[in-house]
């Protein structure tokens, strides 16, 4: 019943329908990302990043959380290598997403994989992962991915621009405590992870250490507390696993 097409013979209509399905599956996630982008644009200039730099960062780096953190570090006077190292740590979570998707993309040419990697955000991963869980023809699912990525990308860059404009019209906006939007967004992202004891302890250790080490130069406290939290959480998890194995063994 189903007709088998090779990549080259695929009718364009199927690509288009995948593309638009990807974009529309991403719309609810845009609602969450839009204020984020606007606030990034608003805070850029007060924190020492030029308007051009802010747009360029959204266009080229395209990674919301790390862009916010870069602003905070810039304002705190951190050096560029420190900001880049922190970006690396903050965005390292994306390797988890790519590890999940790699089996679905390995048949594609390199330029497709590079493009998809560039567009790999928390939101697009969520949308695309759903698509790949479905049965049926996944031959053209990379067009779904492209639709999701371009929806996120356009939205992010456009919202950065809106934020820059609003920040210029209302310069006092930087004193409104809008930075709290970032904290509250991250809190909302952290809570669903807190399902196991090792994870809870890891997060608490990171929180306390980040506060205690706040005055270290170059914001090194962030890296220190992240590594410590991960080390403590991993150790606890391995201890628990060993205990479970022993109980099973007895």
């Amino acid at each position: 019943m189903s007709t088998q097409y090779s990549c080259a013979e695929q009718p364009p209509s199927r690509r288009a329908s995948e593309f638009f399905a990807g974009a529309s599956a991403t719309v609810p996630l845009l609602v969450g990302a839009a204020p984020f982008g606007i606030i990034f644009g608003t805070l850029a200039e007060p924190n020492g990043l030029s308007a051009l730099g802010a747009i360029a960062m959204s266009l080229i780096v395209f990674a919301g959380a790390s862009q916010f953190i870069a602003l905070g570090l810039l304002a705190a006077g951190a050096s560029i290598p420190i900001i880049i190292a922190t970006t690396f740590i903050v965005n390292f979570r994306h390797i988890l997403y790519s590890a999940n998707l790699v089996a679905k993309v390995r048949h594609l040419p390199h330029y497709w994989r590079a493009l998809m990697a560039f567009g790999l955000t928390d939101e697009t991963f969520a949308a695309v992962n759903n698509r790949y869980q479905q049965q049926g023809n996944l031959q053209q699912a990379h067009w779904f991915y492209l639709g999701s990525f371009l929806a996120m990308y356009t939205n992010w860059v456009f919202c950065t621009y809106i934020g820059l404009t609003l920040g210029n019209i209302f310069p006092q906006m930087q004193n409104w405590g809008l930075d709290f939007a970032m904290s509250v967004t991250f809190l909302g992202m952290v809570v669903p992870y807190l399902k196991t004891k090792p994870m809870l302890v890891a997060v608490l250790v990171a929180a306390v250490l980040a506060i205690v080490s706040h005055d270290l130069p170059h914001k090194l406290g962030l890296l220190l507390s992240a590594f410590s939290g991960i080390a403590v959480g991993l150790s606890l998890m391995m201890l628990e696993n060993r205990k479970k194995k022993q109980q099973v063994g007895q």
């Binding site: 690396f88 994306h94 988890l96 709290f180 250490l209 992240a226 991993l234």
Partner: protein, 106 residues
Amino acid sequence: MNETFLIGGMFAVTFSVRYVLFAMAGKVKFPPWLNRALEFVPPVVLMAIIAPNVTMPKGELWLSPLNPWLIASVVAVITALIRKDLLTTIVVGMLTFAGLRFGLGM
């Protein structure tokens, strides 16, 4: 000029992380302990960013029921635990913060 280096460097590390496994197309496998360590990365890093922001919004430790950053964070966590919906958490957290800070002038 500094911004060129900053953005170029941030792009290089971000894209590398996103691309490395796609480029190798699954020819490399992580040891299990590293896979487990990676699972801790997102929440731990995010928490290390948030904690100082909300407990020391003016540069010094401020653990008090009068600290709107802290109180709104607690409300946001409770909301996230009950509703499990990111957008609701953000909206409730922001409204609480705005109410405390501008409504009550805290």
